[in-house]
């Protein structure tokens, strides 16, 4: 990053090559949409590029990078929720006089075992991670997939290290329950 600060374009290219995939991965698991994730990842690099002259190596570069990414992802999720709320309100107004009695449809969603049979095991794992509450998801992604240190993740989430450890414990506990059939059989389980 110091090379980028000095105006070295090649250093920026190296940063891009090194962090492009991890960032897109992290963001797509956060926002659950690859197009939005790529747009946000570009925004992260753009912000790094804009702030390169002011960069002070007081914290690890990865901490800084993932902090920007986390904030952008959380804002995007909240904006998305707001937009969804607006759409559902509009739909209620549009319904007007043509309101029809709600048809009750029985829940035919398959159980976890059936899901495992019909869907790819990997996407079940991914779905379980993506279903975690936002803070727990950030903690698990950065701890498990990006192997950041506790102090780095704690800085990104603006919490203490002990609070982070408890957050991680609760997140893994949720995943242990959600993915119980997979965890019970272990990684040697046959792929659906």
């Amino acid at each position: 990053m110091l090379g980028v600060k000095a105006g070295d374009d090649q250093s920026f290219e190296l940063l891009l090559q090194r962090y492009r995939s991890p960032l897109v991965n992290f963001l797509s698991r956060m926002v659950r949409d690859q197009a939005i994730a790529e747009d946000l990842a570009q925004e992260v690099f753009l912000r790094v590029y804009r702030a390169r002259k002011q960069y002070a190596p007081s914290a690890k570069f990865t901490t800084w990078l993932f902090r920007i990414a986390t904030n952008l992802a959380l804002n995007s999720i909240r904006d998305g929720r707001y937009r969804q709320m607006e759409i559902s309100l509009d739909q209620q107004i549009d319904a007007g006089d043509d309101e029809l009695p709600a048809i009750e449809v029985p829940d035919r969603r398959p159980g976890m075992e059936q899901q495992l049979m019909s869907r790819d095991r990997a996407s079940v794992v991914r779905g379980a991670v993506e279903a975690l509450p936002e803070k727990q998801r950030v903690a698990v992604l950065l701890h498990k997939y990006h192997e950041l240190d506790y102090d780095e993740i704690a800085r990104i989430l603006e919490c203490s290290e002990s609070a982070l450890k408890s957050l991680l414990f609760r997140a893994y506990e949720t995943l242990r329950v959600q993915l119980a059939p997979l965890v019970a059989t272990g990684s040697e389980a046959p792929r659906a």
Binding site: L16, A37, E38, S123, K165, E173, L179, A184
Partner: protein
């Protein structure tokens, strides 16, 4: 140690980042608690299972799109950086106009048609008047003027009043 305390200790223990004392404490608890032992085993398996989540690769257009966005950024190096610092042209024009006006106003005399010599003369006269002792008797002099309205002395003697 009880199961509740494991919440704060277990992750660091499994990561191999717990202190010697913490590790010892957790080890002792695990010997005594079958539930936490199962949890540790399942957490280890869970971490292996989590590795199965598919990775998302950036699309081939990612770099090109990013470079386009960077190219759209205003350059901020050298002289171009200085130009970028200067505010919008309208604001710059307004500030220059204000500067010219203030210089022009300060260079012109304070009032049209006032001679500085005359001003000095007035000031001198005012000082002189202020110092005159007669000014102290100004009220008395005014009263004397009022007495002049009285009728002549002969009328007062004859008892006409």
């Amino acid at each position: 140690m009880n199961c509740e305390k494991m919440e704060a200790r277990l992750i660091a223990y499994m990561d191999g980042k717990a202190t010697e004392a913490e590790r010892h404490e957790v080890d002792l608890h695990l010997i005594a608690c079958a539930e936490c032992r199962t949890r540790v085993e399942e957490f280890r398996r869970l971490w292996t299972v989590l590795d199965e989540a598919p990775l998302t690769q950036p699309s081939p257009a990612f770099d090109a799109a990013l470079r386009q966005r960077i190219a759209g950024e205003p350059a901020r190096t050298g002289w171009s950086g200085l130009w970028a610092w200067i505010p919008a042209p309208r604001l710059a024009f307004a500030v220059s106009l204000l500067l010219i006006l203030s210089v022009w106003i300060s260079s012109t005399p304070s009032g049209p048609g006032v001679n500085p010599n005359e001003l000095a003369q007035h000031e001198e006269e005012f000082k002189m008047i202020k110092d005159l002792p007669v000014l102290e008797d100004y009220d008395v002099l005014t009263n004397f003027e009022a007495l002049s309205e009285l009728p002549p002395k002969s009328d007062r003697v004859n008892g006409k009043i």
